[in-house]
């Protein structure tokens, strides 16, 4: 019966250790076989399944105690392996719990820093938005509309002065035109004086001629005529002097009139229209400033939303507390199960101490358990817990544990898989 059992066990090993038919195993390396195919061959979720042939043989030979002891021996071997597996699972769960707790704490801390930076950014954007609306001028804060009104006021004053200057320019031209006309009148009057003086001089000359004809009787008249002639000469010199002075005045007035006309003729409408240009430019600046302000306000709101979301994420990260409690509960349950299995195993060994010899470890079952473990570090801990030494079984499990392709994940020196 032992041979039959061993034979059956060998069949099981052949099917479950490699998980493949011999033809497939020879033609295809284990690492290249798809996971689905391995799982299918191993059974549901890849777990070890006791051979139906063994159970069938036990049932058919229920009266054979040797066969029953052998089968019970196998159950005990499986039980001890399961104890070790449960123990390492408990350790793994505690490791996972610690890993999650440490990393969630780090993530939460990082998110708090992120929220603080986001809040700072929001404050800075808010400051920037305020600064975009105001300008410091002579120690006073002025918004752009005030600046625009101030510039507009200065331009209006300047234009008023331009119009006023233009008006005065025309008025001066009119005045100088009048002066020029008046000076011409004076020149005409001087001409009239000169004409009269010329006649006076002629009359005095005629009087002197007539006085000479009258002889001694005309001596007195000759003296008067001479004086008149001298007087006319003096008047003539005075008229000449006046003409020179008036001519000088006329030249000055005409020159002034010409100059003021040149000044008044300068068209300042472009300078007036500058107000329009500056107003349009200021409108452009205000519009652009409004766009910037809107963008900054939007950015501020976005930063505030980000801050809010980050705090929401920090709150959500508190799931770790609940997860830890659940894992602790699972560990407690597994510990009870482990203790139950240990107790049952101890009791069975004490009851059948003499009959149960040659117990074997259920290596096949364990190989099936670790088959799907993709983390090398975790797989090593399982092997060490069951077989004592990690390296003792590593080479063998290299062929039994599926290796994912390098494109799925990679190992670094610290056995941390980077996805």
């Amino acid at each position: 019966m032992t041979d039959i059992a061993n034979q059956t066990y060998q069949e099981t090993e052949s099917q479950t250790l490699n998980g493949l038919t011999p033809e497939t195993s020879e033609s295809t390396p284990f690492s290249e076989i798809p996971q689905e195919e391995i799982s299918e061959k191993l059974g549901v979720e890849g777990q070890f399944q006791p051979s139906a042939d063994v159970l069938k043989e036990v049932m058919e030979n229920a009266s054979d105690p040797e066969l029953a002891h052998e089968f019970l021996n196998k159950w005990l071997g499986l039980s001890e392996t399961q104890q070790k597996a449960m123990s390492i699972i408990i350790n793994e769960i505690e490791l996972v719990s610690e890993l999650v707790e440490t990393n969630v704490s780090d993530i939460s801390h990082k998110f708090q820093e992120l929220a603080k930076h986001s809040q700072n950014q929001s404050d800075q954007v808010s400051t920037l938005a305020d600064a975009a609306q105001n300008v410091m001028y002579q120690g006073k804060s002025m918004d752009l509309s005030q600046i625009m009104n101030t510039i507009d006021g200065h331009l209006s004053t300047m234009i008023d002065k331009i119009v006023e200057s233009s008006k005065h320019g025309v008025e001066v031209v009119y005045a100088l035109d009048d002066v020029t006309k008046d000076v011409v009148k004076v020149e005409n009057l001087i001409g009239e004086i000169e004409a009269i003086n010329k006649q006076t001089n002629m009359l005095a000359l005629n009087a002197r001629i007539e006085a000479a004809r009258a002889g001694t009787a005309g001596d007195g008249f000759a003296v008067v005529a001479h004086e008149v002639q001298e007087l006319a000469k003096t008047i003539n010199e005075l008229a000449w002097t006046m003409r020179e002075e008036v001519t000088s005045v006329v030249n000055g007035v005409r020159l002034g009139n010409t100059k003021i006309k040149e000044v008044a003729n300068v068209d300042l409408t472009d300078n007036i229209l500058v107000k329009d240009t500056i107003r349009e430019l200021m409108d452009c600046i205000l519009n652009q400033n409004d766009i910037y302000s809107d963008a900054l306000r939007s950015s501020k709101e976005t930063s505030q939303d980000i801050t809010k979301d980050i705090y929401s994420v920090i709150t959500r990260l508190q799931f770790q507390d609940r997860a830890k409690q659940r894992l602790e509960n699972i560990v407690s349950t597994l510990q009870v199960m482990e203790e139950s299995v240990t107790s049952f195993s101890t009791e069975t060994r004490s009851t059948f101490e003499t009959s149960l010899t040659g117990r074997t470890n259920e290596e096949d079952w364990f190989k099936a358990v670790i088959k799907d473990l993709t983390l090398g570090e975790m797989r090593g801990r399982f092997l060490k817990a069951v077989f004592g030494e990690e390296d003792a079984f590593t080479e063998e499990t290299e062929n039994t544990v599926p290796q994912s392709s390098s494109t799925d994940f990679e190992y670094d020196d610290d056995s941390i898989e980077l996805f």
């Binding site: 008006k167 031209v173 068209d267």
Partner: protein
């Protein structure tokens, strides 16, 4: 500048056309003489036909207004258009005198 003058018992209307610049100051002075009397109570400068004006022209309109004001006449600028209207607006003439749009 071209001008035409229309009068009624109480009103004097001076219509200007083309351009009013410094070159027109002599002709404009003749028009000022029409305002410079006690015959009319109202004076209107019709600017509908005036296409352009320079800063001296603005000064002459201001002199016309002050002359009318001096003689107690009501005064207005009638329907300026285009560049003339824009310059009168920028120069805030409506704050000094009546402008009929």
């Amino acid at each position: 500048m071209k001008d035409s003058v229309t009068t009624t018992d109480s009103s004097l209307t001076i219509s200007l056309s083309e351009k009013l610049t410094f070159e027109d100051h002599t002709n404009f002075r003749e028009l000022l003489k029409l305002i410079n009397n006690d015959i009319h109570r109202n004076c209107s400068i019709d600017l509908r036909g005036l296409e352009a004006i320079d800063s001296a022209g603005l000064g002459m309109l201001m002199i016309a207004f002050e002359t009318a004001e001096k003689f107690g006449m009501s005064f207005n600028l009638y329907k300026p258009v285009g560049q003339v209207k824009r310059l009168l607006e920028i120069s805030d003439f409506e704050k000094v005198m009546s402008i009929v749009s």
